[in-house]
Each structure stands twice: as C-alpha cells, then as structure tokens.
Symmetry: C2
Subunit: 197 residues, 2 copies
Amino acid sequence: MTTRIQRRNRERILEAALDVFSVNGFRGSTLDQIAAVAGLSKPNILYYFDSKDAMHRALLDQLLGIWLAPLRAIRATGDPHDEILGYMRRKLQMSRDYPRESRLFANEVLQGAPRLADAIAGDLKALVDDRAEIIRGWIEAGRLARIDPHHLIFSIWALTQHYADFDAQIRLIRGDTDPMDGAEAFLDLLFDRLLKP
Amino acid sequence: MTTRIQRRNRERILEAALDVFSVNGFRGSTLDQIAAVAGLSKPNILYYFDSKDAMHRALLDQLLGIWLAPLRAIRATGDPHDEILGYMRRKLQMSRDYPRESRLFANEVLQGAPRLADAIAGDLKALVDDRAEIIRGWIEAGRLARIDPHHLIFSIWALTQHYADFDAQIRLIRGDTDPMDGAEAFLDLLFDRLLKP
DNA sequence: GTCTATAATGCGATAGAC
DNA sequence: GTCTATCGCATTATAGAC
C-alpha cells in the first residue's frame, strides 16, 4: 500500500532526477545532485528507488508514452496537409512543454540508445512504419508532394526537437529573444511549401 | 621540440578521446576507456595531456574551426539559392565525414554549453549575425522567400546534424538502409521549395 | 617516454540507530 | 521513513623505477 507521502516523494525524486539526468546524462549525474534538488537525503531517495539505474528507467518508461502520442494522433482519414502540420505543431509544443524530456531522449540516443534500443526498434519503428504507409498512400493519391515519408518524419523531429535540445546555443545567438519566437510561423511556411503536391 | 613520435601519439590520443567523449560525454568518459582505445597506458596519455579536461579542451578547440567553415563560405556575391543550398549540402557532408564531432558538439550544447559559451556567444554569433544580414539583403531584393534568416540557419543545422546525432535512432527505424540514403534529395527539395520568392 | 604501483577523492549503495 | 556513518569500488592523477 502506498501513502500520499510516498507518492509525493516518488514524484519529487523523479522530478529532480529529470532535472539532473536531462542536463548531465546518466553517467554524468550523481545521486548527491538528485538528492539535493529533491531536498532529500541520498539514502532516502534510495529508499524509494532501488538504484540510480531504477530512477533512470522509470523516467524513460514514462517518457515513451508522452513521446509517441503526437505521432499516434495522425489519422489516415484526415486531410493530409492538416494532419502533418498538426503533427509538427504538436511536436513543437512538446519542445515548449517538455524540454527536459526532449534532452533526456537526446542524451540517450546520442549514446547509441543503450536503454531505448528495444523500444525504438519495437513500438516506435512499428508506429513510424505505419504512419509512413499512410503518408505514402496520400502521395500515391496525389494529395502530397512526392517526398520520402521517413525523411519527412525525421525532418519534423529534427526541426522541432532542435529548439529544446539546442536551446542553450540558440539563446546565446539570439540574445534576449525567446528561442522559439517565430519558430511556428517559420515551420508552418516550411511545411506548407514542402507538402504541396 | 616535438618529435614525430610525440605528434603521432598526441594524435592517437585525441582520436581515441573523440571516440569516447562523443559517445559518453565528458563526465561519462574515463581515462581508462581512452587509454584502451588509444592503445597506450593511462599514465602515458597523461604524459601527453595534463588532464582529462585538457584533452577535451583540445578537441573543442580544433572542432570550432571545422564547424564554422561551411557557414563562412557563404558569399553575398553569389546566387542566393545556390549559396544556401550549397551551405546545406556542405553541412550534410560534414554529418557524413565528422559524425563524432557533431555528437561531441551536441553533447556540449545539451549540457548548456559550459565550455563553449564564449565561443558561441562570440565568434559563432558574430558569423551567424553577419550571414543573416546577407540573407536579409537577398530577401529585401526579392531574391528569396520572406523567411526569418536566423530560423533558416537553425533549420539547416537541425536537419543536417540530426543525421549524425540521432544516427542510432534512424538506424533502428530504417533497418539495414544507410541512414543518410535519400537525405540529400529530400533536403534539396525541401530547401528548393522553401527558398523560392 | 613508458611502465607499475599507489595516493586521493568521488560515488553508489548499505548498515543500523532512531 | 529518515537520518548519520561507512563500506567498497571506480576514477583521476602522481611517484618513482626503468
């Protein structure tokens, strides 16, 4: 049986772990850092999670659901142009709302996806292949430009996640301007032009 | 005075350090790993570099020159469409030729660019702002679509570096296909459509 | 220049009191 | 449930022989 306090502490620990892991990666993060951010002692956070690895796995597990939802929402029955622009906008919104999750994911893939290989080669690949087939169907029907569906999906990932993952660089170059200011208008124009048959 | 052997060993160490740092990040990498890849003993690599940090700084220093060259090559006197597509193609070629450097850079920026902040806010920002002005001039002259020059440059970075930085993910999704197969044709089409006035 | 041995510290995890 | 204390191992860096 789990009490309110237990749930609250588990959440505080995962919140702190996300802060730390998303910046420093798994090996670069320490339990001392996570405990300090969570406002708990190091042995105490190990009372709630068996190990540093268990914290990281818990974060990756809950990440996958969040991460796949926008792509899942693409429907073959919708208008091709609207469906794909809608997907791009949802992904861009995720870079706004979940930048730490985006960086956690980026850290993981940069290192060769050691802990995500199964999920990527399984659920994600299946979902991507399925949506790529929908896009291929739209192209065959003459409703979209003749572009490679996989590269189209990769381009949406690259362009939207860049604003979360390379936030530090964009801030240093653009100064006080909000890094994502103007991004949606730019990407709307880009994909509008790209998709037209 | 530096001998041939010294130069060769320094190069072997930097080569090994790039292998290791680009995958594991700075804190996630160990001197044992680097020494093993270099085929030298741990004290021996510390004979050539004062510290782990010195190896990392040496890599970042030589990285910056490589990294800025393609953007520097943009000329106000050229044809706008050709200049920008040429830049994109050079950047894509760098993801092919220097994927480890791309990941080293990505690791650094993901962590908030602690060791690159000065270079980004200095040389890189100055170069980007200058080339953005050139692009703005082309737009005012009606030779390009009315798009934000900074976002255009960011989009080139995002789309090209994605193939190096997220290589593991793309491989898992595309299977045996070369991750960059079809990328140039796709990006040629994308930027051709985006840039037209 | 390169090695073995080791010092010095950092870190994940556990023991045990309360 | 939470803490202090500590174990045991990994890691950076140095000492000193050759």
